[in-house]
């Protein structure tokens, strides 16, 4: 079998690389690196830093909402917190984490020596910290950071915003460029660098889902760049794209934004599907059920994502025919998503399952993401959306799919591949602690939000009616528990990075499949200089 020959040849290849492995040391190694593993590592650390930063902003929000009335922060700062929390989590935490995983894993999964465009890869990472530096510097401006919500609806972002908007727009442009370059790199790598014999329908699903995600990024990030540019010119250069007085239309902003925004939410979840599709078969010790249907379902979700954007705007007074169209299209997405859930459950069915930490996070992902999906179907129903719109029900919905969905899958991926990245096994006890603390607290945090939302508590407001006090107190406790639980993860990762743990074998998981397990752990600096045979 090819696997056996590879495990033998890989260390040999590694040895003779050490001699001409003249990577610079210290900071220069990281500044000038073109190595996909180094860049992947930087992306992952960066996203984790942003995750903690965005998380601390969420804790500010939860601290203020612990009791009704105004206690800790003033309403304007509260708005800055909700805005920056959203922007940082979407563009700073979740997206770079997936790009980091793509950098590390895609070349190793398809048997390529590196990404196709290594220098651009370096650039697309290194502009990111500057984007966020610009964004965060707005806190020190008069009037503070942007306070119009991460969706920056006009006229909040045009007429009623402070000058931090200009910096917000530039930061968004840089993040967009970084994502587009990352996407181009992924597509070129997958199309041109697959090992001989690795045809499209043999690619691991993580590679497939990222391939489709990259096309979504190429399609919608330029539209986002256009929208932020229009906001900039409306605010500073006298255009009236969104200004009714000058012949524009503020509702147009929402159409343009959500034309980007809805595919964007799939950009943040499709790679999760790929991760879970790698992990569940490994620990159920069965091949993935319905590989081809997974590929088609992913493509179907990506295609449909362009036809559902106006379900964010049911209350803007759309004609009934338009509401119905977007409602049916949205519900249609439940079909390919249901196919995926079915396939994961069927993969586990009668499998020889074990519950290592990556598997625990994956199972939690399947269950909790399904809850988020079902509240999504509820929100898709136009008439009831009039009640749910802009309430905590929406907040509960998208945090179920993004935190217990996307973030849990990223954590699962980190535990699954940490032995490969670091060469040591993670601390099993701490990782289990991390999982159970996260699982319990994430539900204390987000599940009660459904109830206050249905009862009418609006989102993005720093105060609330007295009858919501008990539930909000519970939610805030959940929020702090969840936030501090992530420090356990930090401890686990730091221990691995310092190589404190049992040395990991090349393939630490009995049922794992894929080329990445044929190279030793930690993965040598250069892998697959000679393409493997598949």
């Amino acid at each position: 079998m090819s696997t056996i020959t590879d495990t033998h040849s890989a260390p040999a290849a590694h040895d003779d690389h050490d001699h001409h492995d003249h990577k610079p040391t210290g900071i220069k190694r990281w500044l000038f690196t073109t190595n996909h593993k180094d860049i992947g590592t930087m992306y992952l650390w960066f996203s984790f830093a942003m995750f903690l930063l965005g998380g601390s902003m969420a804790l500010m929000i939860r601290a203020e909402l612990f009791q009704p009335g105004m206690q800790i922060i003033d309403p304007h700062f509260f708005n800055q917190m909700t805005t920056m929390h959203g922007v940082i989590m979407v563009f700073g935490a979740v997206m770079p984490a997936f790009v980091g995983l793509a950098n590390w894993m895609i070349p190793m999964m398809i048997g390529a020596p590196d990404m196709a465009l290594p220098r651009m890869n370096n650039w697309s990472f290194w502009i990111l910290p500057f984007a966020f530096l610009i964004l965060l510097s707005t806190f020190f401006m008069p009037g503070g950071a942007p306070a119009f919500g991460w969706t920056f609806y006009a006229p909040l972002s045009t007429t009623y915003s402070t000058d931090s908007t200009a910096l917000f727009v530039f930061a968004m442009h840089i993040m967009g460029m970084s994502s587009i370059m990352g996407a181009i790199n992924v597509i070129v790598t997958i199309m041109n660098m697959r090992a001989p014999g690795m045809n499209y329908m043999k690619m691991p699903l993580f590679v497939w889902t990222w391939f489709i995600t990259a096309f979504l990024l190429i399609a919608v990030m330029p539209v986002l760049a256009g929208v932020v540019t229009m906001v900039l010119t409306d605010k500073y250069f006298g255009t009236s794209f969104f200004d009714a007085a000058g012949g524009g239309d503020p509702v147009l902003f929402q159409h343009l934004f959500w034309f980007f925004g809805h595919p964007e939410v799939y950009i943040m979840i499709l790679p999760s599907f790929g991760i879970v599709s790698a992990i569940i078969p490994a620990f159920a010790r069965k091949p993935l059920f319905g590989y081809a249907s997974m590929v088609y379902a992913t493509s179907a979700i990506a295609g449909l994502s362009f036809l559902v954007w106006a379900h964010h705007m049911f209350t803007t007074g759309m004609p009934t025919f338009a509401s119905l169209f977007f409602m049916y299209m949205t519900m249609l997405i439940a079909v390919p998503t249901g196919v995926k859930i079915f396939n994961w459950v069927t993969t586990m069915w009668r499998g020889a399952m074990t519950f290592e930490t990556p598997m625990l996070f994956s199972i939690a992902f399947v269950v909790l993401f399904t809850i988020g999906g079902l509240s999504g179907v509820m929100l898709a129903i136009t008439p009831v959306d009039y009640q749910y719109h802009d309430t905590y029900f929406v907040v509960a919905h998208f945090h179920y799919v993004l935190v217990s969905g996307a973030v849990f899958s990223i954590l699962a991926a980190a535990y699954y591949w940490l032995p490969k990245w670091s060469g040591v096994m993670y601390d099993d006890f701490l990782s289990k602690m991390h999982f159970w603390c996260s699982l319990i607290s994430v539900n204390i945090l987000f599940f009660p939000m459904h109830f206050v939302g249905l009862a009418g508590m609006p989102r993005r407001i720093p105060d609330y009616a007295l009858q919501f006090a008990d539930i909000n107190a519970i939610v805030s406790v959940g929020g702090f528990l969840f936030g501090f639980s992530q420090l356990i993860f930090l401890a686990v990762v730091v221990k691995c990075a310092l190589k404190k743990g049992e040395p990991a074998p090349a393939k630490p998981w009995e049922g794992a499949e894929g080329l990445e397990w044929t190279v030793p752990s930690p993965a040598p600096y250069h892998t697959f200089d000679v393409p493997p045979k598949v």
């Binding site: 330029p222 760049a225 509702v251 004609p319």
Partner: protein, 193 residues
Amino acid sequence: MSEQNEEKKTARPNNSRVITRLLASVMLMFAFGFALVPLYEKFCEITGFNGRTSNTAAQTIDGMQVDQSRIVTVEFHTRVSRGIPWEFTPEVRSIRIHPGEVKVVNFYVENRTNKNVVAQALPSVSPGEASLYLNKTECFCFEQQPLAAGERAVMPMQFYLDPDLPDHITRFTLSYMMYDLTDQVRVTASRAE
């Protein structure tokens, strides 16, 4: 080794072809974002999606049949944008009208400030579908309204409903929002000089 070199040779141009295409798609989608602006306007014009009515005067059709069998309620709603202390009200809150019948409704405006201003009212119809059948033969909203400090004016609006108005529309709202255009007018005037 030679096989690998050959592979590299073929891989290079392949890369640049894919990159060129992807970059072209990026540019295309950036342009598409901007193209959506006129497309949206055109779409709204055809479907009445955003409830905006035509900016030009409609002609009354001679011998137009008044549909006596139907009565439609038209509600009027007026607002002034933030920062202009004008009084702006319709003479009636709503009227009942037969499709095809021509009516005049007066709007009263008073400049309560001590400076001269130029303003313009922008119409919006809800539900938007009705905007396609609302024909104004004369409207103050077609032009800018200069109003001296303390001045009052009566502004007429003459309109009829197209008899093709769908049966299910029995009531709609016509809303006017008054915007302060003084600064813009001054800019264009100084440019003209």
